[in-house]
């Protein structure tokens, strides 16, 4: 053991020890800024949460940075400023998130009930709404027809998109070579960028040519949604198929298994959890699409279970029509309430789909034994 005796530590003038602020400076400045912000906002035109937040943040940014610049130097000050800005950015981003969820819950729960989910809008008029507001009649009207419509249209869109998307991704990963594969990859990318309203216009134009101008039904809506859904399915499945280790394929070939059986029995099952959760997420994405359905499936207040004829309501279109065209112009509140309740229903459906996707990914993941 060679241990030198340590020289006495800490000479007076140190090149390492920079001037540093005490450890809790930031926290103290933060609390002080909140107090000052509250005071300032009270002085300038009365207290409001927004004014308080903005002023406090500004005070904190200025004081904290200046203090650091004076004591610790420019570089440290810049570092602290950026840190504070990054935290601020995150704080700002929380505002819309919380406020969207809060307003949907707060406004939506008012009318969200089994009744709402089980009745349609047939024969509900503005007069009912006025009477409901005056307390003369019960609140009626729900979103059953829209839920049925959304379910049928989305299911149809999935039936169209999933086989096409999955087979295409198999082609790209397992067979695709040369110009055709490159063209497909390129145009799938192009398709990803199609605005949803353009997809709707395409379906509308297609059906206008095939079945006459002004044709609107659930199937046209499903076609529009498919245009949006196919590239998502291709992309996610392709990604999942690509991470299947090549050794598995080679092991199957070495056993004399033909290629198509290798794909069906080995490759796809290995990737199935990822594919299924990708498909579920794609469904969750199109279930909330509004614009393409407005121009293809139209609006109605009655239940329609046949997607191949007549207009069909969907949940997003229901939200839109209740919010923008209330039944009663003079007392729109019941319609607004219905819009919020439908928005809540829609969000619940999307969240459930997202959760299901996560569950699928976890439950059906290949067992690794770890």
């Amino acid at each position: 053991m060679s241990i030198d005796t340590l020289p006495p530590a800490g000479p007076a003038s140190s090149s390492l020890a920079h001037n540093q602020l005490p450890r809790y400076t930031t926290q103290i400045v933060l609390v002080a800024s909140l107090a000052v912000g509250a005071g300032l906002s009270a002085v300038f035109g009365g207290f409001s949460p927004i004014r308080f937040a903005v002023l406090s943040t500004l005070v904190f940014l200025i004081v904290n940075t200046t203090l650091s610049a004076v004591v610790e130097g420019r570089r440290k000050a810049v570092d602290k400023l950026v840190t504070a800005l990054v935290y601020t950015a995150f704080g700002i981003a929380l505002v819309p998130l919380i406020s969207v969820i809060w307003s949907v819950l707060d406004n939506g729960l008012e009318r969200f009930s089994l009744d709402f989910l089980q009745t349609s809008m047939r024969n509900v008029t503005g007069l009912n709404d006025q009477q409901a507001l005056e307390g003369a009649a019960p609140f009626i009207g729900g979103a059953y027809h829209a839920i049925v419509g959304t379910f049928l249209i989305t299911a149809l869109a999935s039936v169209i998109s999933v086989p096409i998307g999955l087979l295409t991704s198999i082609y790209l990963v397992e067979y695709g070579r040369g110009r055709l594969a490159r063209a497909i990859t390129f145009f799938v990318d192009v398709m990803t960028g199609i605005p949803s309203i353009v997809a709707g216009l395409f379906a509308a134009a297609l059906f206008a040519v095939l079945f006459g101008v002004g044709t609107r039904n659930g199937f046209a809506g499903a076609v529009a949604l498919s245009v949006l859904m196919i590239p998502v399915v291709v992309r996610s499945s392709e990604e999942m198929l690509r991470i299947v280790p090549n050794e598995l394929r080679e092991a199957a070939y070495a056993l004399g298994v033909p290629k198509w059986r290798t794909i069906v029995r080995v490759v796809v099952p290995t990737a199935i959890s990822g594919i299924a959760s990708g498909v579920t997420l794609a469904i969750a994405r199109v279930v909330g699409e509004t614009a393409p359905l407005i121009v293809t499936a139209g609006f109605t207040s009655s239940i329609n279970t046949n997607p191949f004829s007549d207009w069909m309501m969907s949940l997003p279109a229901y939200v839109y029509s209740q919010a923008m065209r209330p039944l009663s112009g003079s007392s729109p509140q019941p319609s607004f309430d219905r819009a919020w309740a439908a928005a809540l229903t829609l969000i619940l459906i999307v969240m459930v789909l997202n959760l299901v996707a996560r569950l699928i990914a976890r439950l059906f993941a290949p067992k690794t034994g770890r």
Partner: protein, 318 residues
Amino acid sequence: MTTTATPPPTERRSAPPRAKARPGDRIFSRSAQVAGILILIILAGVAAFLVREALPTFTADPSEIDGGEGFLSYVWPLVFGTVAAALIALVVATPLALGIALFISHFAPRRLAQGLGYVVDLLAAIPSVVFGLWGIQWLAPQVQPAWAWLADNLGFIPLFTGPASATGRTMMTAGLVLAVMILPIITAISREVFLQTPTLHEEAALALGATRWEMIRMAVLPFGRPGIISGIMLGLGRALGETMAVAMVLSTGGFTWSMLTSGNNTIAAEIALDFPESSGLKTNTLIAAGLVLFVITLAVNMFARWIVSRRSEFSGAN
């Protein structure tokens, strides 16, 4: 591009063990190929039907088009509105998104970061119509005083000319709603590339005596730049094509420079608002406008890709 996951099928078939090629293989590979070709057909169909239905607009007498002065003068205010709303969204969302992405990747405690990433993804899952509803009923009244203040104090700038709309249903508000909608897109992509920054580069910067921010500027941002740009461009593409937020929030009208009064409209919102009740030439005109939107978003996406592929020499791919 396709990676060489398996040897090309032609090579495998060159010395078949059995003379008869497996029919299962042929059927399967052919159907996979057909599915791929179907996508090309669908896309060709989208283009063909849009062009076909849009054509009457260009052959029709200019006086018959909405506004009476031909398609170009009909569509350019809509293009202006589309671009303006998207730019407002981009200006607001980009710095915020980069901040959040950095927060999740380099500032937040590790355990918290994953949860936060999930929360941001949640924002992306909310349907656009819900954002529209939120924008018109909650956000518009909240931000109206801010617009009034802007119009009073910065009214000399053409974009802020007053008087500000009393309902708050303006381009600025629509742009804000769009910003909230594209925030998760830019955040998610930037976060992914920030997290992929090689530890080696981060440590190299720290070992030179860089502060956290200097390390981010030296190692993380340069590495993530192509990712950031493609995230921004994807967000822009989404903002350009987004319909419902604008259709619901904006109180539409004719062209005006001011972003604080009602007026202006975007292509997507114009289609959503007018198409259901349109007929005849108006339908064709709207489809032609849709075609213009398609071309714009296509150009943005292509541009994004070109930027990402450029300067690959310095990209750190090797």
